[in-house]
Amino acid sequence: MYVSPIREPLVRGGKTYSQITKDILAPMAGRPSVYWYIGISLSVAALLFGAWAIYMTVYVGIGTWGLNKTIGWAWDITNFVWWVGIGHAGTFISAILLLFRQRWRTSINRSAEAMTLIAIMCAGFFPLIHMGRILLGFFIFPYPNTRSLWVNFNSPLLWDVFAITTYFLVSLIFWYVGLIPDIATVRDKAKSKIRKAIYKFLSFGWTGSVRQWTRHETVSLILAGLAAPLVLSVHTIVSFDFATSVIPGWHTTIFPPYFVSGAVFSGFAMVLTLLIVARKALNLEEYITKIHIESMTKVIILTGSIVGIAYITEFFIAWYSGVEYEQYAFLNRAFGPYAWAYWIMMTCNVITPQLFWIKKIRTNMLVVFIISIFVNIGMWFERFVIIVTSLHRDYLPSSWAMYKPTITEVGLYVGTFGLFFTLFLLFIRAFPVVAIAEIKTVLKASTDKPMQQDHE
């Protein structure tokens, strides 16, 4: 790879290969820090809150939520789409950027993929819990049965089931395949017997032979090829939940590209949120450098702008179509009772990311962190606006209603945060957060000091 002298290096601090291994394995070694304990305690607490909310929902009923005869989905599907969106960055980074040979992805792909997997788990939880009869949720699968019951392949909800499951499985395999050489490294460095045994098992007998490496590379490439269209398909299919319906504000052909770019947008924002903290907390600032952060902010500018254009296009089409219901739906979004949600969405998603055009802003970690939070909030509100404001005033004004969330719904949402952070914190302790093997491949080409040949 040609290294431009003006291009900033991807690994700083003049690292050697052994240093890289040491640095990246450092967070896994020894006892966890106090912060880790605080973090895991908070996360588990949130998880328990979620468990209570699950109990209320399953035992008492969906009535513990704020839904009504008009608004059948609200926080549940908002959270679902939001988490799915977040789950887009990981695979996008690993698969699409791999295919496009973006080397900067190497230091962030591992954690982004882990984040993806956890986010998909969080996402998948909502369609499950939103079922009125969750115990019969297995009806959703086309399993052979004596009653000749079959699922309805016309339903976008069913497409979701397949899309999400496929995406999760492919992402999981992709992530794990990428982990194998690193697990082997952990195995080699492990001191305790048990630890060694576990990682030995997990590493599938990786020795680092050339044959293994070639196969590994091939599998990675194939999986990347498989995963890349999935990145596009998952959110396209999620958007079909709305696009194929008849509800004004949902029934929109622009949804698939709009949802996909929104997903990448929110996914990158979440990666930023996490990594800005993680690189500091785990001393990985030399691996996840400003250049990485900057690259990600650029993706955010692009996708954020697409999302912004989509918002405006929706308005244009509402006017251009001449459909009075559609026109009302969009005016109602902007000026109706939920206008505040709409303007939060517009501000957070359209205006704030544009600040990244300014280099000073996109290189200031604190500001990037704040803006990434804004984008997370904005994208949550985007789904809320699409779902709730479209439903609450549709065709017949007699049925118009308002929606207010309840503590149970908050509990479920907080619960998924609990799950997310619990699993992420466990991931930090269990696996290298940066792909050691992969980052070593860019070291030669993109470092700020000449390499020293000191293998240990």
Partner: protein
């Protein structure tokens, strides 16, 4: 161990270690052998044993939670009872306020539904919400279950002994016994009371009506020399002027009047004429909201308008006018219009002021209404009580002149305007006996409680109009240890006969003679019991001459109201009515046809006044220092009139009713001779706090969408499609690439004539009864989670101070291209080959996607376990006790009781369709048009709903579909609904 057979020689050889092999190999082979043995130690049989045991024990373990439900079949099959098929018994609903001739549907010994009796020439098969809901009164949790003395259980023998003893003592000392009853329209009951009177000569029978019509009675006494209520013929009137008479909702005989009113306005058979309805009122009532022209008038000034109309009419008919205070509304044009239709005009007033009624009589006289639109020879027998009678009785009670008080079927401790006086006076009476069906405020104060049968458990008869009789027969054996009040009275009068024999004898003696067609009395009796109605065609004589003297006197003595302050108008709504059935959750959850509020009464206030006083919805206020009531801004409310419904604020009615709303009966004014339902010059003051009001519709504008389409008669006559022009345009745009679905057999469809629908809500209750629709309670209605399968949308048009109002019943539209069907992931909602949109509750997993995607928002989700059908125990959400064992007896066994977490919706009463299809099949004939009637259509007193086969071009529904007025709701979405609406036509001068 079973015998082992060898499969091959090699296998056999394994048993013999081959010694020629090296030791290591031998070891290996031996090891293998062991392995093989070990493997085979679990044989197929063992596996099956274990498997069977595991499955059986798992099944037992998991099934021990299941409750054992015993269903014991009849050892000897009762005659004429077919398990699983319903029997219908003719009966009559009369509660002292409403009258309706009914059929009671009995399934396996349980009455589960009330339908209108089509043989009745009065109600003609129509019902109203209260009649529909009355079935639940049979299973009221608060029913009195056994005789009681001082609140503790006793037996009939003991209680009879004690009561007889006391009655004898009173008789001995020549004391007075009073029997307090509602207006009795039953001739046999009257005879029973007479018998009692004969046994105890010093007996006073006092009739008392919670909702009084004494004003009409007195006016007719003055004008015709007899206190009576005539028969009004709204169908014969070309022009109807009503002064606050809510004749479609609560005035006198609303079911009958609705039938008549709608008949006079029907346009479905090419009629070119319809009646014109002008309505004066202060509140926005059901009737007023249906009027062609509605005029707001303060209740205290209504009399002035009536007087002015009388004067204008006199002027126009060349008579001298009489000086009267100025009317706030100009009436000369109205007078001319009325005179144009002389002989076909009808003016009615809902006021209980005799003077106003006298003037109305004079108006009707000038319009030639008597004999044409008002039949004075036929008397309506309900609400005959004199308002002063109870006052006098209380007076006597206080003066210790009454020794015994028998309370039969009335509740003055709740609904008398001066209930305190009654309660106080009651303590002075030594012997108090209550003969009521449910526990209530008055019953609680009586020493002896002799529970009466519910009307569905008892024999009775009624003479609702002169010569028009109807019957009530038991549809079930008494559920509790009750006894008909008649039997009690007969017993105490020393007569051994039971009421049935007594009644039969009465009919033989008095009514058999009127029937010429029947040969024997048994034939006669059986036929009347079967039909439920009997018309002797008897008329009252000598009541044709009207003497206007009193009316003119009333007019000349008319004074303008003293102040121009706020008026408080009390009204009865179509749900709880007088409050007698307030303990009925169906009625409590029934949204008011105008305000769409349920579970409360409230102060209706005009938007203008609310703005002036800075009052918002739900703000608590006090009227003349009353208990706080919430404000509800009611478009169309007269500027200075406050309206509050009666019938709320029960204290001892049961969980659904207690503490719901405020009791307003105390506000009725004793205006001289009659009780007036309005109070002049009330003070309205803000109280602290707010009270959340439950309403099923919170947005009141159509937002310019063509949802309810209407036109005027004039435009309709020039172009039948007027108001519906957009349909053509929509149909031209409906294009599809997909082949049109053809239904080769039946294709069910429904048509609703918006011009007929008055919005009375009978369909809503009927649907809930038929389809086991859960009641969710106030909190859940506030959350917008009511479960009604059919709702009546109501929109205001024009300005909020004087809006017009349109209504539209909306249920599942059974779209042939249903948006709900294709989104269900598990195919729980599918389309039948007869065009029905079906729900398989068993299959539903509750994603609510269908509800979201329904443009009509008719799908309802079971947010909680409202029915007890959930798999989990202890999570039932039943705030109004609808799932007690007693209440559950009303459930329709033909309709699944839905569990928590499933979607439900209108099925077009598929159980009724199947039932009639089976019947037709058994009789080997095609289904007839109109044979299948869904619950909503059957209940409708206006016959606004038509159901049938769209493939049959001669069916009524097909004819409606072919009408130029027909349109489909949101047709532009290409959902292809199977419900059509006929545009509303208003007869207004443009």
């Amino acid at each position: 161990m079973e015998k082992k057979y060898v499969r091959s020689i090699e296998e056999l050889q394994l048993d013999e270690p081959r010694l020629d092999q090296p030791a290591g190999d031998r070891q290996f082979i031996l090891g293998m052998e062991k392995e093989v043995k070990k493997m085979s130690s679990t044989t197929r049989r063992d596996f099956l044993k274990t498997f069977g045991f595991t499955i059986a024990s798992a099944a037992i373990a998991s099934s021990c939670e299941q409750p054992v439900r015993k269903a014991i079949p009849f050892l000897i099959q009762p005659e004429e009872v077919m398990p699983g098929s319903a029997s219908y018994y003719a009966s009559t609903f009369y509660d002292g306020v409403d009258y309706c001739s009914i059929l009671v549907k009995v399934r396996d010994g349980r009455p589960i539904k009330i339908e209108g009796n089509t043989l009745s020439s009065i109600t003609k098969g129509g019902t109203n919400s209260r009649t529909q809901a009355a079935i639940l009164g049979l299973y009221d949790n608060e029913r009195l279950k056994f005789p009681m003395e001082n609140g503790s259980e006793t037996t009939w023998e003991q209680i009879d002994e004690k009561i007889l003893d006391e009655l004898e003592q009173i008789k001995a000392k020549n004391g007075t016994i009073a029997i307090l009853t509602p207006t009795i329209i039953s001739p046999s009951t009257k005879a029973v009371l007479n018998t009692f009177e004969e046994a105890y000569p010093n007996t006073k029978i006092v009739a008392y009506d919670a909702i009084s019509s004494a004003g009409i009675l007195q006016a007719n006494k003055a004008g015709f020399g007899k206190a009576f209520i005539p028969s009004y013929r709204f169908d014969k009137a070309r022009i109807i002027v009503s002064f606050d008479a809510d004749f479609l909702g609560s005035w006198l005989s609303p079911i009958e009047y609705t039938k008549q009113y709608v008949k006079g306005r029907d346009l479905t058979q090419g009629q070119r004429k319809m009646s014109r309805h002008i309505h004066f009122e202060g509140n926005m009532s059901l009737t007023g909201s249906n009027a062609d022209h509605r005029v707001q008038v303060k209740p205290s000034q209504q009399k002035l308008v009536v007087a002015s109309l009388l004067n204008s009419l006199r002027l126009a008919s060349g008579q001298a006018t009489i000086t009267a205070p100025a009317s706030p509304i100009e009436t000369s044009l109205l007078a001319l219009e009325l005179l144009e239709h002389k002989g076909a005009a009808l003016v009615v007033s809902g006021s209980n002021d005799p003077e106003e009624q006298m003037m109305v009589n004079a108006i009707n006289e000038l319009l030639d209404s008597f004999g044409n639109t008002i039949i004075t020879e036929k008397h309506l027998k309900v609400r005959q009580a004199d308002d002063q009678a109870l006052k006098q009785l209380i007076h006597d009670m206080e003066a210790n002149k009454i020794d015994a008080l028998l309370v039969y079927d009335v509740n003055p401790a709740y609904d008398y305007y001066n209930s305190k006086a009654f309660v106080n006076a009651l303590t002075k009476v030594k012997l108090t006996i209550a003969m009521t069906v449910t526990d209530d405020e008055t019953t609680a104060l009586c020493t002896y409680v002799c529970p009466d049968h519910h009307f569905l458990e008892a024999w009775n008869d009624f003479e609702v109009y002169t010569g028009h009789y109807s019957m009530a027969q038991p549809a079930i054996r008494p559920i509790f240890n009750t006894r008909a009040a008649h039997d009690s009275l007969l017993r105490w009068a020393g007569i051994e006969k039971d009421y049935r024999s007594f009644m039969k004898d009465y009919w033989q003696e008095h009514l058999f003679t009127a029937s010429l067609a029947d040969l024997s009395f048994t034939d006669f009796w059986n036929k009347r019991v079967h039909d439920g109605v009997f018309d002797t065609r008897k008329t009252e004589n000598g009541l044709t001459h009207f003497d206007p003297t009193a009316s003119i006197e009333a007019l000349s003595q008319l004074k303008a109201p003293a102040s121009n302050g706020l008026d408080l108008l009390l009204y009865t709504n179509v749900s709880v009515g007088s409050g007698k059935h307030a303990n009925n959750p169906w009625l409590q959850e029934l949204p008011d046809p105008v305000s769409k509020v349920c579970w409360d009464n409230y102060v209706a206030i005009s938007p203008r006044l609310a703005k002036e006083l800075d009052l918002k919805d739900e703000q608590l206020v006090r009227i003349n220092g009353s208990d706080p009531l919430p404000i509800l801004i009611q478009p169309g409310q007269e500027y200075k009139t406050l309206g509050v419904a009666l019938g709320y604020g029960r204290e001892r009615a049961g969980k659904p009713a207690n503490g719901v709303g405020r009791n307003m009966f105390g506000f009725q004014q004793n205006g001289g001779d009659t009780l007036l339902a309005f109070v002049e010059d009330v003070k309205l003051e803000k109280a602290d706090g707010t009270l959340a009001i439950a309403r099923t519709q919170s947005h009141h504008s159509m937002e310019g969408r063509s949802i309810v389409r209407e036109t005027t008669l004039e435009e309709y006559l020039t172009d039948p499609q007027s108001g519906n022009e957009i349909r053509k345009e929509i149909q031209e745009h409906l294009k599809t690439l997909y082949p049109k679905i053809e239904y080769d057999g039946l294709h069910w469809g429904m048509a609703i004539d918006l011009n007929a629908c008055t919005g009375c809500n009978a369909c809503v209750v009927s649907c809930s009864v038929e389809n086991n629709v859960p009641v969710v309670g106030k909190e859940q209605v506030i959350m917008a989670r009511e479960m009604h399968w059919i709702r009546i949308d109501r929109y205001y048009t024009d300005d909020m101070d004087n809006p017009e109002l349109v209504r539209q019943p909306v249920m599942c539209q059974h779209c042939d291209n249903a948006p709900c069907e294709n989104v269900c992931p598990v195919a729980a909602t599918t389309h039948s080959n007869e065009g029905l949109n079906q729900m398989a509750y068993n299959r539903c997993i509750g994603t609510r996607y269908c509800a979201n995607n329904c443009p009509y928002k008719v799908r309802r989700f079971n947010y909680f376990d409202h029915t007890g059908a959930d798999a989990f125990k202890g999570n039932r959400y039943d705030p109004v006790e609808m799932t007690t064992d007693l209440r559950r007896m009303v459930l329709n066994p033909d309709v699944t009781v839905r569990a928590k977490g499933v979607i439900e919706k209108c099925s077009f009463c598929v159980q009724r369709i199947q039932d009639k299809k089976l019947l037709a099949k058994k009789q080997n004939r095609p289904l007839r048009d109109g044979e299948v009637i869904p619950a909503c259509a059957q209940a409708c007193p206006a016959d606004a709903i038509v159901f049938g086969n769209l493939n049959d071009k001669n069916s009524k529904v097909s004819k409606y579909y072919a009408d130029a007025r027909n349109y489909h709701l949101l047709e532009e979405l290409h959902t292809l609904p199977s419900v059509g609406y006929l545009t509303k036509v208003k007869n207004k001068t443009v």
